[in-house]
């Protein structure tokens, strides 16, 4: 019984961790190329989810509606990179961060302006009634949670394969590790970085409709997830997709177990656990578990 409870909590942690990992993956996609921490990533995903919701509400079949949101996400990623990030140049951390802050405020407010402040319910992709689960060793795995996990694993595998085995992935790694030399040997660094933003926008837009049935669709749905995603990406290393997934799952499981077994922490300090992990990693190993070491410790 005790063990079963532990398993349930573990699975719950993995489920949350998968969401963090998913969004962290989007952060990694932009960071690899542009060295930008896109704080507005969550808001971008949120507004794409609203687009999908509007499409679905107007009679478009749900999978097509989600696809529409994903396309909008990818396109807006590309547009943001081209118009707002690239002109600032490569070493403009401060300005890029400010632009992302501006995007955060603007997108969040724009969504509220168009769709109103009230939360909306979002239809689930798979049956999501109370009895739609797979029992494994007494733990209930809900269909929707399984879908998120499977999509996450497929995405990571695909991204890993693309980065590792294709010519495009090679040029992406070259552009990330040494932009000047890469452009000298004919890699179109700007275009490759733009693809990073397209991927990030699309990944975020795919995550939104998957979590919206349980979180409900609102302008603030990504406020905490983006923080968790930052923590996950830091733990895993900001330029490693696999690291992001490991970091996300690690944070999801740790915070859930700590919150359940340490009475002092409880549910109210869950986020604090993740943030403390973030601070500890920044102190001990700022490049994260799998990231390339480029942070100067001074």
């Amino acid at each position: 019984m005790e063990f079963e409870l532990f398993l349930t909590r573990l699975v719950q942690g993995i489920n949350n961790g998968a969401i963090y990992a998913f969004l962290a993956l989007a952060l990694v996609c932009t960071y690899r190329g542009s060295k930008a921490l896109n704080l507005a990533q969550g808001e971008l995903a949120m507004i794409c989810t609203f687009v999908s919701w509007s499409l679905a509400a107007n009679g478009v079949p749900l999978p097509l509606a989600i696809l529409g949101g994903v396309v909008v996400g990818g396109l807006s990623g590309a547009a943001i990179e081209r118009t707002l990030i690239r002109p600032l140049g490569r070493d403009a951390h401060y300005s890029v961060l400010l632009v992302c802050v501006g995007l955060f405020l603007a997108i969040n407010a724009l969504a509220g302006f168009i769709w109103g402040g009230d939360p909306q319910s979002f239809p689930a992709v798979v049956p999501d009634a109370p009895d739609d689960f797979v029992p494994v060793m007494g733990v209930r795995l809900r269909y929707q949670q399984l879908v998120i996990l499977v999509v996450l694993l497929v995405l990571v595998a695909a991204l890993y394969a693309v980065f590792r085995y294709t010519r495009f992935g090679l040029s992406m790694r070259a552009a990330a590790s040494n932009p000047d030399s890469a452009s000298l040997v004919g890699v179109r660094v700007n275009r490759v970085n733009a693809w990073g933003w397209v991927l990030a926008g699309a990944v975020g837009a795919l995550l939104g409709p998957l979590i919206a049935p349980s979180t409900t669709l609102s302008t603030s749905m990504f406020f905490t997830f983006i923080i968790y995603a930052c923590a996950a990406a830091t733990v895993g290393g900001f330029d490693s997709p696999i690291g992001a997934v490991i970091g996300g799952l690690f944070i999801g499981v740790t915070e859930n177990l700590v919150a359940s077994y340490v009475g002092f922490i409880g549910d109210s300090l869950k986020l604090t656990v993740a943030l403390v992990i973030l601070l500890v990693v920044l102190m001990v190993k700022p490049s994260g578990l799998l990231g390339t070491r480029e942070v100067e410790r001074v």
């Binding site: 060295k35 930008a36 921490l37 707002l84 002109p87 600032l88 951390h93 401060y94 300005s95 961060l97 400010l98 632009v99 802050v101 501006g102 995007l103 955060f104 405020l105 603007a106 997108i107 969040n108 407010a109 724009l110 509220g112 302006f113 109103g116 402040g117 406020f223 923080i227 930052c230 923590a231 830091t234 900001f238 409880g266 109210s268 300090l269 986020l271 604090t272 943030l275 403390v276 973030l278 601070l279 920044l282 102190m283 700022p286 942070v295 100067e296 410790r297 001074v298």
Partner: protein, 389 residues
């Protein structure tokens, strides 16, 4: 050159320059005294609220503008000051003035603690540290609900006006809060101004512009950064304390990430690294949402302010790095030019003895002349360069 002739030229330090500065200061003081007689009480309390925000932005500007270290957690220091005052006055009956002091000290200490991890990192990682600290604060407020009132909030924080005829009327409390806020803002501006006008300020700016060069020139990096972080945090904390006594109600939601982003917006729009730009920015982040709410009562009124801020931040990052303060300075520069004062003439005998060895040194490499004037001059030049950047 032709346009230079049409401009009014004021020599720095001349009677005219001094007179204009004194007139400006007097105008501000006169406005501060006149406002309670001109404005309705509720407008006056809005001005007080704006002063409190402006104070926090002035504090943030010390760290992020002059210091060049972006902070995504300044709402936490604001909140820490607010809750220090709130908890001490309502829970333990401490005098509010004393609680302000405690708030300042606590915020300075926490600022120093946060500064140390931030010292070792760069770029987005500094932002991540402050982000984490900023977000931990509201969760702690909710966790320790016995002390802080948790998510329902802390009620009844007030500061009784002193027993003076001026504050005894029906609106005495409004006047008192107004004067507290004005005094706090003035204090914050003076502290930042005095810190930045001098050796310490030059160290801060040198560290921001070229850390390696600054350290080589003998700037104490750790000391400078830690003091900047602590001072910035305690200014934000005092602003928070004043916010607590003027609003009377504290909830953890008021100190969220959104507030930090608004502070940043105020700093950027008003003009980072300028002395009065952040004050202007603070008033804007307070009044733009108020105005847009008054103009339209549709549900998205608050949201429209967010769109405006977001778009303006992006536009300013691209086109107007120095913000509104820089814009005003440029526009003023079209009409008025402040020229530096002519250096005081050195007696001719002294000048001859100084300049001749240098001339010989230039022309005859063999002459090991006294090179002190040369060194002095280069030293002055480099600090000027640091200031101008």
């Amino acid at each position: 050159m032709t346009s230079a002739k049409q401009r009014l030229v004021i020599v720095e330090g001349s009677a005219l320059h001094l007179g204009l500065r004194i007139a400006g200061a007097l105008a501000i003081i006169a406005t501060a005294f006149a406002l309670p007689y001109v404005l309705e009480p509720f407008r006056l309390s809005q001005i007080a609220g704006a002063c409190v925000y402006a104070m926090a932005v002035v504090g943030l500007n010390l760290l992020a503008g002059f210091g060049g270290q972006i902070s995504l957690g300044h709402a936490a220091f604001f909140g820490l000051g607010a809750y220090t005052t709130g908890v001490l006055t309502t829970g333990y009956g401490v005098d509010p003035a004393l609680s302000f002091l405690v708030g300042i000290v606590v915020c300075f200490a926490v600022g120093v603690i946060v500064a140390f991890p931030a010292l070792r990192l760069r770029g987005i990682y500094v932002a991540l540290v402050t982000l984490a600290v900023g977000l931990i604060f509201p969760t702690l407020v909710i966790r320790f609900a016995d002390l802080t009132g948790g998510s329902t909030g802390l009620f009844g924080v007030t500061y009784q006006p002193p027993d003076l005829a001026y504050f005894s009327g029906f609106n005495g409390r409004v006047y008192w809060n107004y004067w507290l806020a004005v005094a706090g803002l003035a204090l914050a501006c003076l502290v930042v101004r005095n810190l930045m006008n001098g050796r310490f300020g030059r160290s801060v700016i040198a560290l921001r512009d070229n850390e390696t060069a600054a350290v080589i020139m003998g700037v104490n990096r750790t000391g400078t950064r830690v003091v900047v972080f602590g001072t910035s945090a305690s200014i934000a904390g005092l602003a928070g304390s004043l916010f607590a006594v003027s609003s009377g109600l504290l909830t953890p939601l008021s100190f969220s990430l959104l507030l930090t982003l608004y502070f940043l917006a105020g700093m950027i729009i008003g003009g980072a690294s300028s002395f009065w730009g952040p004050v202007l920015g603070g008033f804007l982040i307070y009044f733009v949402p108020v105005w847009s709410a008054e103009l339209s009562s549709i549900n998205g009124s608050q949201n429209l302010a967010g769109v405006v801020f977001g778009v303006i931040i992006i536009l300013i990052t691209f086109f107007l790095r120095s913000g509104l303060a820089g814009l005003v300075r440029t526009l003023l520069g079209l009409v008025v030019r402040v020229e530096p004062r002519m250096p005081v003439a050195v007696p001719s005998a002294a000048r001859a003895s100084l300049s001749e060895p240098r001339l010989t040194e230039r022309h005859h490499l063999s002459a090991p002349a006294d090179d002190r004037p040369e060194l002095d001059r280069s030293g002055v030049g480099s600090t000027d360069a640091a200031r101008n950047h």
